[in-house]
């Protein structure tokens, strides 16, 4: 599963860095780093919805506060 996190200016200001570190932590906690690949991307053109996160080709709006719920539902839920 490919999870792409936008690190463009706008999403950065809305907390990309925290979202990335939360997801990295949860992925290693659940020992699924062989199944999930985290990667970055510049602006996805949906800044109003930032932080933009794509799971395969589906776009989600995530914030540091919702990152864990997002992980449980969209990443863990699909494995």
């Amino acid at each position: 599963m490919l999870v792409t996190i936008c690190i463009g200016s706008s999403c950065h200001l809305k907390g990309s860095r925290d979202v990335i570190s939360i997801l990295e932590r949860l992925i290693s906690l659940h020992g699924i780093s062989d199944k999930v690949e985290l990667t970055g991307s510049f602006c996805m053109g949906e800044c109003a919805k930032g932080v933009c996160v794509k799971v395969d080709d589906e776009l989600y709006s995530v914030s540091p506060a919702t990152a864990e719920t997002f992980f449980n539902e969209q990443i863990l839920g699909r494995i």
């Binding site: 690190i7 200016s9 706008s10 200001l13 990309s16 860095r17 990335i20 990667t39 602006c43 800044c47």
Partner: protein, 391 residues
């Protein structure tokens, strides 16, 4: 011969002085670059006025084609006479480097220019003239690629006098230190300037007894750097900008997510963005085939512009160089601009970025134009040639 110049200078103020009595000036005309280092008599405001006047007068006159006798005569008749000492006095060193590779060096009462060529100290064959009762020495020579010219005020040769060294550092020891430093591979002018100033500051036990100034002029091959930032106003200009950008020789930097996406689309290559945050405030960099460096836009350029400003304010400390060597997009651009660039070309798109009109963000993202201006100004202060094209 095609020679470009990597230039840097720094002054240490005499202990307790707010103003420096030494002044460095850089002037350019179509055929040459002119560097003037002047040391005004005394210290503080009086010395500052004398050296500023001298630098401006000599530099401007030479730039506009006057000969050295005219310059000296003008200075002798113009400088205000000190009410205490009843003399008007300011030393100077002038180095004029022509585009065709010739150089003209003139000195009046400053320590001699140090020239390091292929790792050796080069003896400069001066001729001595008397103009207006002043002993002036000059020399015409040819510049070789890799030459380091070091101009200095007597604060350098006197460093440590009566303290660490009874008669100060001295021209011979200072020259030898410079020669050794120049044997380091790819030593840039800013680093050499910093090393010499650090050595002086150490000899003065961090409390300089005199204004101390070093200017380094390093002859290098032209190092062109191109920066593409900001999407063009019209979609049709994307390809025009990219063609101009990619065909311009030298390093290529793309700064901005949207700009990077445009570059990737036109180059038909894929951007690979890293998610490694080495600095919490600066978004990670990315890679794109055909481009040397891809970074986020305004946050990165903002930090970069501040670093350039810090450098121009005279901060050549170890801590500054450490921040320049740091592994983040802003430091990478700043390092390239400070140390690996003689000519900067900016390709700037002026479209309003819809993504940045988003209220409620803790940083004003719509300041690209101001950052471009600031980077241009700071690079020009360093003596680099800058061109900016808008799309």
């Amino acid at each position: 011969m095609n020679i470009s110049l990597d230039v840097s200078w720094k002054s240490l103020n005499k202990h307790g002085e707010e103003l420096c009595g030494d002044t460095v000036g850089i002037l350019k005309n179509d055929v040459s670059d002119i560097f003037v280092l002047s040391d005004g008599m005394g210290s503080g405001v009086k010395a500052n006025i004398l050296s500023t006047l001298t630098t401006k007068i000599v530099g401007t006159m030479l730039r506009d084609g006057a000969n050295i006798s005219d310059c000296v005569e003008t200075i002798a008749k113009t400088l205000p006479v000190c009410s205490v000492r009843h003399v008007a006095y300011s030393t100077f060193t002038i180095l004029q480097i022509f585009k065709d590779g010739r150089a003209y060096l003139v000195e009046y009462d400053n320590p001699g220019c140090v020239l390091v060529r292929s790792g050796k100290l080069e003896q400069i064959p001066y001729e001595v003239h008397e103009i207006e009762g002043k002993k002036i020495r000059d020399c015409s020579l040819n510049v070789a690629l890799g030459d380091y010219f070091v101009l200095m005020s007597d604060g350098v040769t006197h460093a440590g006098v009566g303290n660490m060294m009874s008669f100060g550092w001295g021209q011979a020891r200072a020259s030898e230190y410079i020669r050794k430093a120049c044997s380091m591979n790819n030593l840039s002018a800013p680093r050499l300037t910093s090393m010499i100033c650090k050595a002086c500051s150490d000899l003065y036990l961090d409390s300089p007894g005199d204004d101390t100034t070093v200017a380094v002029i390093h002859a290098v091959k032209a190092k062109h750097v191109n920066i593409f930032t900001g999407p063009p106003q019209s979609y049709d200009d994307d390809a025009v900008l990219m063609r101009d950008f990619m065909t311009s020789p030298g390093k290529k930097i793309v700064s901005g997510g949207t700009s990077a996406n445009i570059a990737a689309r036109i180059l038909k290559k894929k951007i690979v963005a890293s998610i490694k945050y080495n600095d919490p405030e600066i978004p990670p960099i990315a890679t794109l085939e055909g481009v040397d460096l891809v970074t986020e836009g305004v946050l990165t350029l903002n930090r970069c512009a501040n670093m350039l400003e810090q450098y121009n304010k005279g901060d050549l400390s170890d801590r500054f160089f450490d921040s320049l060597d740091a592994d983040n997009g802003a430091a990478m651009i700043a390092k390239i601009l400070v140390e690996e660039c003689t000519d900067l070309h900016m390709f700037v798109g002026q479209a309003m970025n819809a993504a940045h009109q988003n209220v409620g963000l803790p940083f004003d993202l719509s300041i690209r134009m101001r950052l471009v201006d600031k980077i241009r100004q700071e690079c020009e202060k360093m003596g680099k040639t800058v061109t900016v094209r808008y799309y």
